[in-house]
Symmetry: C2
Subunit: 156 residues, 2 copies
Amino acid sequence: MLDVTRELTVGDVARRSGVSVSTLHFYEEKGLIYGRRTSGNQRRYGRDVLRFVAVIKVAQRAGIPLKDIKSALAQLPNSRTPTKEDWARLTRSWSDMLQARIDSLTQLRDQFESCIGCGCLSLAVCPLRNPDDALAQSGPGPRVLIDTNEAERVLS
Amino acid sequence: MLDVTRELTVGDVARRSGVSVSTLHFYEEKGLIYGRRTSGNQRRYGRDVLRFVAVIKVAQRAGIPLKDIKSALAQLPNSRTPTKEDWARLTRSWSDMLQARIDSLTQLRDQFESCIGCGCLSLAVCPLRNPDDALAQSGPGPRVLIDTNEAERVLS
DNA sequence: TCTTGACCTCGACTATAGCTGAGGTTCTAG
DNA sequence: CTAGAACCTCAGCTATAGTCGAGGTCAAGA
C-alpha cells in the first residue's frame, strides 16, 4: 500500500512538500520542476522532485526570485540525480548571496541608527540621503533615469 | 529665479528626489504623499515632500512594502511639519524591523552553511527542511494550508 | 461497472510597484 | 500673445508569484 518507490502524483507532492497543487503546476510551467505524464495526461514525479521543491522554498526564504532559482537549478546535471556535491555548490553560491544581502541590510540599519541622532534625513548630512541627493542637487537636466540606475547599482 | 521658498511642481520633485513623475502620481494616488492643486489642476508640493519621498525610498531599500510605509507615515502629525523627534520614532521602529530581518537572514545563512556539510536537505536531518517536513511526513490529510501558514509564521 | 475523488487545461483574478502612451490642458519665456 | 515644455487623466501594460473556478477527464475502490 505504501510503496516508497512509487512515482508521486501532484497531490502526493503537494501534501509532502507543503505547496499547493496550483503552485506545482506553476513551477512546472516555469520550468523549475519536471515530471512525466501518464497515458491519461496526468503528472507523475520522481522522488527527486521533493528535494527540488524544498530547495525552491528555502531559496525563496532567502529572497531569491524564481528565475534565479531556475537558472541555479539549471546548473545541476540533468541526466543524473544530483549528488551531495552538486547541491553543496548551489548552497554555497546562495550562502554568499545571502551574506551580501545581510551586509547591505546591516549597513542600512547602522545608518538608520546613526540617523536617529542626525536629525533624520537632513539634506546633505544624512548618509541615507546620499549620494543620490548630491546628484539631484547639482542642477537640472534629464538625470532621473541616470540617478535611478545609479541608485539601483549602488544599493542592490 | 531660484527661489527656494517656492512650491515645487511634480517635475521639480521628480528631478530632486530621483523618482519619476509617474511614480509621484502613483504615491499620491496611494496616499503616501500629499499636495495641493493650482486653479489649473496642476500639483504643487511643499518642501516637506522631498523628505517624505526620501523616507519612502530608504524604507523600500529596507524591504518595507508601501502599505506599511504608508501606515508608518500616517503616524506622523498631519497638521504640522514633522519634527526631528517624529522622524526619529519612525526610524527607530524601522530599525527594529530591519534587525529582525537581518536576524532571520543570518539564521538562514548559518543553516545554509551547516547544510554544506550535512548532505544538503536530506530528509529529517537538515534544519532547512524542518520543521515543515516533520509535519508533512506525519500522514495524509488537508494540511497544506496549515503547513504553509506554519512555515510562514515560523520563518517570517 | 460505477461512483467519487483526484486530475486536466485555460482564463481570469489577486497583490505589489510601478511604466507608457494617447489625447487634451496649462504655464511660462520670448 | 503664442509656441513649446510641462502638466493632466485614464486605460492598459510589465513583472513576480501565485490562487480560483469552470468545464471536462481519469483512476481506483466497492
